[in-house]
Symmetry: C2
Amino acid sequence: MKALFLRRIQKLDPDSRPLELMETQITVPGTGEVLIRVAACGICHTELDEIEGRLRQNRKSLTKRLAFCKLPWKGFHWKAGHHMAVTIYDVARHAGVGIGTVSRAMNNSTKIRPETKARIRKAVRELKYRPHALARALALQKTGLIAILLPVFTGYFYIELLKAIQREISQHGYDLVLYSILQSGRTGPCLRRILKERRVDGVLVLSLQIPDAVAQLFRRSGLPVVLADGMHQKLDSFFVENEQGAFEAASYLIAMGHSRIGMIDARLSSPPAHSRLIGFRKALAAHHIPWDPGSLIISDTVSEKDGFNREAGYEAMKRLLALKKNRPTGIFISSDIQAAGAVQAIREAGLGIPDDMAIVGFDDIELAEYLGLTTMHQPLSEMGETAVHRLIQRIGDPDLPVLHRGFETRLVIRQSCGGSRQGASQSLNGARS
Amino acid sequence: MKALFLRRIQKLDPDSRPLELMETQITVPGTGEVLIRVAACGICHTELDEIEGRLRQNRKSLTKRLAFCKLPWKGFHWKAGHHMAVTIYDVARHAGVGIGTVSRAMNNSTKIRPETKARIRKAVRELKYRPHALARALALQKTGLIAILLPVFTGYFYIELLKAIQREISQHGYDLVLYSILQSGRTGPCLRRILKERRVDGVLVLSLQIPDAVAQLFRRSGLPVVLADGMHQKLDSFFVENEQGAFEAASYLIAMGHSRIGMIDARLSSPPAHSRLIGFRKALAAHHIPWDPGSLIISDTVSEKDGFNREAGYEAMKRLLALKKNRPTGIFISSDIQAAGAVQAIREAGLGIPDDMAIVGFDDIELAEYLGLTTMHQPLSEMGETAVHRLIQRIGDPDLPVLHRGFETRLVIRQSCGGSRQGASQSLNGARS
DNA sequence: CTGAAAGCGCTTACAG
DNA sequence: CTGAAAGCGCTTACAG
């Protein structure tokens, strides 16, 4: 296998004419591979053919050298980066100007004569030139990239958020770099790395907690961070009013006539889980319903995960159903995905929803509609858009004051509490049909 | 508002001692803003405080100048990039070596003395140095980024795929840049842009068709592309055996005793939709069941989308149910999400599944389990992993031969055809309960 | 308005 | 083994 490797030497010798071959040499690494290295001055992408022609003419000398190495000549072969990319130098030469002028033409500088600009634009079109993003970023100290951190795709919840974020961000000319966090403990290290690597202009953090030390670091560095579905005192934060939502959810169960009300929550170290419990208890208190610790199940026993998953909801509901006395008749479940598991457990027990057990979820993921689940809707798109908007603002001015804003949830009534406005005809008691 | 702007001048004067202030000057732009520009030679991050101290000592001269501009002195204020990042120069000076040596120490070069390396490592730790990703990428011609193109998050389908891809890719030390394609026509332009910008080392394309001209361009450029859930003759492609899957799905309906079998498909310009129709028809033919064009509904009439969505499935099923004569008793639906819509239509018509209408879906998204939907499972994780693996390989050697590989689907039997092995107790005929 | 040059922060042949 | 220098492909004060 042969390789002809063209290498551009820009300033090797300012006086050398363009296209002049500076050297040819042969190296023979391990497996009989032959590398012919040709350094030429000011090679332009569009001139590669000419270069190759010259080399062909020069072939006898190459062949001689190859023979010396006891290797046959088998023709030319371009190395990996087959076609060299067009650079600003190519454009400059093609248009007969300096590279600075090309740059000004590309960046809509005012300090350029219209005719010059037009000429350069034409060259750009002809060579199909487009600036190398990295080089531009390095010179500009601006990458055009935004990092987004999120817990492993737990699925449904993030789709709507991501969609809104992606739409908004690309509208502002940015691209998104995805960092998915496998364990919550990795959030800090990941952020530190992002900060140091300086590959992005800003960071969007979804549903993750940021250690104070890291928040501090970001503030000092001036690299903007915005939280969505999360909260940090020192950073822009957009969050769902979990407490208000849980309060409403529980109040609704009470309004539907339930007096023994339980809750299935996720691990309390998760801020939403924590707030939802608080809202739940406040609702009970507001309605003078006594608090029974026995009817609160933290569904994080199943795995090392935070408990926001179907299996956890399933197990938790089974434990609730096993309660001998004072079994609740209404349950507030801290997420729809847990509720899905809970529904399964209720079905398997041969019980009916809402007759034997009423449930209210939280999130309003698409699945909730299929389940006929009454739940709290979160305004995820709105939150995502707002967060992006703020991030863009802050990239423009890192010294903006910190902004916190909550988004209220909204009760969506379906069938799982019996209070459907459309009647219970679509209830989900498949098990009893 | 004041700003003290520190600017590093590296080679301004090779003889100037470190920390020497080279100039101080004041500019007064528009709104009474004062910019004090201080260029110093070889300022190190860890020495900023010292610099500031000197400036403070020099304050009287600054104050004088400010007074000249009729502006009060209000102390120092660091400009945006508050803390300057640590560079390789800082480390080199801290360790008393050249920057080349630092680089070698960072990159595990063999050509470095262990003691030197240890000393540099220590400096790195002390200064918390980490290379600037962009600069490194520019010098190395390797960005550590992989682009992933996918149609707008239609949701469920891509979660599993993305999860597998993300896992695999980060294992190889890459990060993912997300490009979501709003209209399929944007695929080409987006790819061209990615190619030209050279921000990534490779491209993963999900479910999108690549124009021949663009494929050609990529081949010539040497930037690796791999397709997952898609196919192009000239590019590595990993795809689901849609035809085989549709064949099996239809065969299953036939085996369940149906002889009037319909299909709901998506727009046929979508390759999977097309293949699934072919597989479907082949199954009919194989079992000598006559083909009735009236019982095929292409569900793309609802919007400009491709038809792979719930609303489209809903409308399509309504049209099928409206059939006066020869109404099918079994339907193969080209995606689970359409099937979800179809289920709703069947329910609303007061019909039962599978008694009045049996359905088989395709995809096996999580929703299918809740719906009790019998469907074709796609090995998405496996396909995602394989695609990434190939991409990494190809980044290592762009001249690898083109690889194509199909992944077989698997029938998952639930309740929607009545053939459940667990009995029909969990069937979804909520409408009739 | 324009070109030449310094700089963005790294890597790596080259010459000790 | 190590330092000095050229190069990666751009932008932008600076000096005409």
